[in-house]
Symmetry: C2
Subunit: 141 residues, 2 copies
DNA sequence: TGTCTATAGTTGAGTACGCAACCAATGGTA
DNA sequence: TACCATTGGTTGCGTACTCAACTATAGACA
């Protein structure tokens, strides 16, 4: 049967069935795990995930409800709040990332060789939406 | 102001404001315009746009309501119906493509040179979801 | 001090999809 | 001929997002 899509859908459903995460859930946990102190201003996280402020609010709503992320106030600026990865969140990420990044590698590896993957990553990295300079510094005050 | 996303959102809103089309609307018109007889089986169009059958039904609903695409029955197989680009659809595509493909070029051109764009297209073309062999032959019976 | 603009974030309403369940037609095969 | 698996397509329902409008804080400047 000629599958409708392939990969992206498969990745999504696998991640969802195995760990109850959407792709963006996963991405959010992943990005947070790399951030200084494992936390980020919501607005920076939004930019990093290419979401609007409301998108981030809803995404974090779910992750907070699941106890994977905590909302932490900033004492120097009452407007901002941080998304802080919890221990449970880090564990969930660990559990999911094994299978997920494996799947990713497989998907790309099926069609591209090592060198091509690197070249692709390089080119995509130059495009906006990818982490531009300032997206890399999550917590500043 | 540090924009939330950038390009994709901008492309979408520009296309929407100027011509009342979503990105997928545009893509559908574009793909149809290249197809033999400017028509395609709905299921093939779905695969090409990486949409589910229900997704295609809803997408074409809108385009049909706008008179840009017509639903044409197949006389050899009563199950299938074609999406047929109308004259109005072709005109709309013309009107939109000028600005849109210009914008696209600009977006990529701002960050990549000619050679890099070509390399990127080449690499992406190898990934699934891009037009695999059979996605190129729209109407067959 | 009051005012004005910019920024962080939430909320309500609308939308573009996916999934599951379904119906109809097709093409075997007995 | 009757049956059955496969394929094309639609519909109901849920969801992840966007946009627009809003509140609240911050910082600049009179």
């Amino acid at each position: 049967m000629r599958a409708y899509s392939t990969t992206r859908r498969e990745l999504r459903t696998q991640l969802h069935e195995d760990h109850g995460l959407t792709l963006n859930d996963y991405e959010a946990l992943y990005v947070l795990s790399l951030a200084e102190g494992q936390r980020m201003k919501r607005v920076d996280l939004a930019q990093r995930l290419v979401l609007t402020p409301s998108g981030i609010t809803r995404l974090l709503e779910g992750l907070e409800a699941a106890g994977l992320v905590e909302k932490v106030a900033c004492d120097t600026d009452l407007r901002v709040s941080y998304a802080q990865l919890t221990d449970a969140g880090a564990e969930k990420l660990d559990a999911a990332s094994c299978g997920h990044s494996g799947s990713l590698r497989t998907v790309f590896g099926d069609h591209l060789d090592e060198e091509e993957i690197e070249a692709l990553a390089d080119l995509l990295g130059k495009l906006p939406g990818a982490l531009d300079e300032d997206a890399a510094c999550p917590t500043d005050d």
